[in-house]
């Protein structure tokens, strides 16, 4: 579904990502782990062509994306939930979610109301403006919004950051349930290994802009020095 090869990304003169190879199969759940500043968010932005200068190849469902702008990538079915949420403050929760329908491009998707019904915490908030939500509520809206486009591939950038553990559990259940129903693939960027393990079945580890490990959780566990070297604080 997503094939990234030889991807290099730059902010101005700074070379941030070096020759990244990464693959996500249809319906697969993949984690991208790494410390702060390792390049996880930059990688997602590079794949969406939304920020860094990018060289290298990104193929989605078989076709090379080249210089395709971000909004057209979104319409192909790639949905990014950014780590800083980026909720529209002047729109209410339902409108925020509906805004993502511009990327639906004819695909089948849940309606904003159906999505709100799935995330129990959002139900009492539908009329509230984005600017009046707490950080955790905004995070939920950002995730719920991504589903309004009926994504084929969901990019989640540290969705657990700043959330209470109880919420994390129910949120993960709901995300996985919707992805299962629509057969959407997931690429999850995380620092929280426990959450990544609960949601995904394949791991990439990135450190200072380079992929240093990839494999399933079994081989991840087989080499504990990886965690020590690249993930522990």
């Amino acid at each position: 579904m997503l094939e990234v090869s030889e991807l290099n990304a730059y902010y101005g003169d700074a070379h941030v990502l070096h020759d990244i190879h990464l693959k996500v199969n249809a319906g697969q759940r993949v984690s991208l782990l790494g410390r702060n500043g390792a390049g996880k968010s930059t990688f997602l932005k590079s794949v969406m062509n939304a920020g860094p200068t990018v060289k290298g190849e990104v193929r989605f469902e078989g076709s090379a994306l080249n210089a395709l702008p971000a909004h057209q990538r979104a319409r192909l079915g790639m949905a990014l939930v950014p780590e800083d949420r980026q909720i529209f403050h002047h729109l209410n929760v339902l409108e925020n979610i509906a805004m993502a329908r511009h990327a639906r491009a004819g695909r089948q998707a849940l309606t904003p109301q159906q999505i709100v019904d799935r995330f129990a915490m959002l139900k009492p908030l539908t009329e509230r403006n984005g600017g009046q939500l707490s950080g955790g509520q905004q995070q939920l809206v950002a995730i719920a919004r991504a589903f309004a486009a009926g994504p084929r591939l969901l990019f989640l950038d540290e969705p657990t950051e700043g959330l209470a553990p109880v919420i994390v559990q129910s949120m993960a259940d709901e995300i996985l349930a919707i992805c299962n129903e629509s057969d959407a693939a997931v690429l999850l960027c995380e620092q929280n290994i426990w959450f990544a393990r609960a949601c995904t079945d394949y791991v990439y580890i990135i450190d200072t802009g380079r992929v240093v490990f990839d494999g399933d959780w079994r081989s991840f566990d087989a080499s504990p020095e990886i965690t020590r070297k690249y993930l522990s604080v």
């Binding site: 909004h71 979104a74 990014l80 529209f88 002047h90 805004m99 511009h102 990327a103």
Partner: protein, 646 residues
């Protein structure tokens, strides 16, 4: 009395609605793109001219008239498409001052184009058939056409309010404006959306031009007044807010209407007073906008003001040679060339004064001609009426006068959102200066001061009556002033200005009083500009209202941008280059606005650092090329990875 009052309110409303139709477009573009579109008035005027060409002295039916106005709107919307694609979309990521300058330049181009296509004559158009008779209510006669303008303004207001706050389209546009990055990730074509909104705002300008064509006679100055009033309305109402624009416009209409009743001999002055009062007591406007204000992007701050110090001795020799060459001019050049050279020297100083504000402090003035004119008129009057006052004292007076005016304007504009407010207030300053001069017999009204005598330097025994003598005095004075400015701007004060330009917030954290530093810079700039004007008056021996026009205010901007705003010497270099260009093309009269505007646009789009910037880039490329020549042979991978592989 009651009749008079109703009539005054009626007039206020009709003027207010007319202003609103222009202000609405300005506030829309500001709300969406964070651009203060200085060319909005010019496009309003183009809409009026398009409608005029379509109507062509016939008297239309109401429907046909509205149809013509819509066509004018569409025509201007097409121009908006061009403007956005060619200019605005290319400048979305640079410092907003460049955008301001670009739209200012665009205004000049539009004015020049209008003069070229339609000429400078006044035209007038009759209101459509149903609306040409007054409406009688009791003893009251109201113009039906003015009623129509009021109704049209209200309809436009309601449409905008509904579209922005009720319709999905408006919510979409607000999303684009507030967070273009996330909007793109949600599948929205941001660039297209912004282009459409620019086109819509331009459509409004053109439509307003068409609808209000019969309200006044049509001339190339039509846009100026509406532009200023539109700016004032949105400043009073709150930037980027349609409701604020409406209330601000009506308030301005009321003020102007009272002005005509209470102070008929000073028409149009009260609005400036009200604006000043508002800016002082409520600078955020009636409805502070939730939208964020434009931030200075880092691009402008990245260049250093100082070139390579190692090359200084070579440049000093070159500078000395230039001064010697300039000093020898009266010995071999003819009168015409000498006049151009003397003017270029004055304009160089003038441009330098503008760049103290822009290049060093990061603030742009669009009415710098006001300071120049203040100096020129001050000197002209003193030389004419009190020739016994020592000339150097007169020049000192110019500096003080300029600094005081700058201090007053700065006190109003620099307290908060410095950039945008200063842009509007400096334009207002130029306009109010022009108005005051044109109302004053003492200052020669529209004719200006003519036959200004040249001064004598009594205590030195110099008589500066001949052109050569005054030219030498001019050269010496400018060289001296520039030397002093160089010293000031390369010292502690210059560094203070630079850090407030590069990062005002961080400067404030370091204990710099940013407002005070900016005001000081503005005062210095105003003082130097006024001295330039003071030196100019006896040189040209005539000072007219042209010295306070938009064109005159563009001159220092152009010269500084042309030479390079990131260099102390850039403005002087630009003034000389422009003088040469002007001398070479002096036969094409009437093209000055188009030439000045187009040149300025070209520089901003193609070489925003001017000639000096191009020279530095070339010199540093040449240096790195020489430096990397040898290592590259042994280690081909070194160097910049980005450029090499492309």
């Amino acid at each position: 009395m009651a009749t008079q009052l109703i009539f005054a309110i009626f007039n206020a409303l009709s003027m207010g609605m007319a202003i609103f139709m222009v202000a609405a477009g300005i506030t829309l573009i500001f709300g969406l793109l964070k651009i203060l579109n200085m060319a909005q008035g010019a496009f309003f005027m183009i809409g009026a001219y398009i409608a005029f060409s379509l109507i062509d002295h016939q008297q239309l039916s109401l429907l046909a008239f509205i149809g013509v106005a819509l066509l004018a709107g569409l025509g201007v919307a097409v121009l908006g498409l061009l403007t956005d694609r060619l200019i605005l979309s290319r400048l979305r990521h640079v410092d907003y001052h460049y955008m301001l300058i670009a739209t200012f330049a665009l205004m000049m181009v539009c004015q020049g184009a209008v003069k070229l296509i339609w000429g400078v004559n006044f035209f007038s158009v009759m209101p459509p058939l149903v609306l040409d008779q007054p409406l009688q209510i009791g003893t009251l006669f109201l113009s039906r056409y003015s009623l129509f303008v009021i109704a049209a303004g209200l309809v436009i207001y309601v449409i905008l309010e509904v579209a922005i706050h009720r319709l999905w389209l408006g919510k979409l546009m607000q999303s684009l404006a507030s967070n273009p990055w996330m909007s793109g990730l949600l599948g929205i074509n941001v660039s297209l959306g912004l282009t459409f909104s620019v086109m819509f705002a331009f459509f409004l300008a053109g439509l307003a031009g068409g609808l209000m064509l019969p309200l006044q006679s049509l001339s190339p100055q039509l846009g100026d007044a509406y532009l200023l009033y539109g700016f004032f309305a949105i400043i009073i109402g709150g930037l980027g807010n349609v409701r604020g624009a409406l209330l601000g416009s009506i308030l301005l209409g009321l003020v102007n209407s009272l002005n005509t009743i209470l102070l008929p001999e000073w028409p149009g002055i009260a609005i400036y007073v009200v604006l000043a009062v508002f800016l002082f007591f409520r600078p955020e406007g009636l409805f502070p906008s939730l939208a964020s204000q434009p931030q200075s992007a880092g691009e402008q701050g990245s260049s250093a003001m100082v070139g390579n110090k190692a090359h200084r001795p070579a440049w000093m020799v070159a500078g000395a040679l230039v001064v010697v060459l300039a000093a020898s001019l009266p010995l071999w050049a003819n009168g015409g060339l000498l006049y151009v050279a003397g003017s270029a020297i004055v304009y160089g100083l003038f441009a330098l004064s503008w760049n103290i504000l822009f290049g060093y402090t990061g603030l742009a003035s669009f009415g710098h001609s006001a300071f120049f004119a203040i100096g020129a008129y001050f000197t002209g009057v003193l030389l004419r009426d009190w020739p016994q006052v020592p000339f150097l004292l007169v020049l000192l007076g110019c500096a003080v006068f300029g600094a005081v005016v700058a201090c007053l304007v700065g006190a109003l504009a620099l307290r908060r959102l410095a950039g945008i407010f200063l842009a509007v207030l400096t334009i207002a300053l130029a306009e109010v200066t022009r108005l005051l001069i044109s109302y004053s017999d003492f200052l020669g009204r529209e004719d200006g001061l003519v036959g200004i005598p040249r001064p004598k330097l009594a205590w030195l025994g110099f008589d500066l009556d001949s052109s050569a003598a005054y030219y030498w005095f001019l050269l010496a004075a400018v060289v001296l002033l520039v030397a002093v400015l160089w010293w000031v701007l390369h010292g502690r004060f210059g560094r203070l200005l630079l850090i407030t330009r590069q990062d005002p917030e961080r400067a404030a954290f370091l204990g710099v009083n940013v407002t005070r530093v900016r005001t000081a810079s503005f005062m210095l700039s105003g003082a130097v500009a006024a001295v330039a004007g003071g030196l100019y008056a006896p040189w040209a021996r005539i000072v007219t209202l042209e010295q306070v026009s938009f064109l005159a205010s563009t001159q220092p901007v152009l010269n500084a941008m042309l030479g390079g705003v990131h260099s102390f010497w850039g403005p002087m270099v630009g003034a000389v280059i422009f003088a040469v260009l002007e001398y070479g093309t002096r036969t094409f009269v009437g093209l000055s606005e188009i030439m000045v505007g187009a040149l300025l646009l070209l520089i901003i789009l193609a070489a925003p650092n001017g000639v000096v910037g191009l020279w530095r880039a070339w010199a540093s490329r040449a240096r790195t090329y020489r430096a990397t020549q040898r290592p590259r042979e042994t280690e081909p991978e070194s160097g910049e990875p980005l450029r090499e592989s492309r």
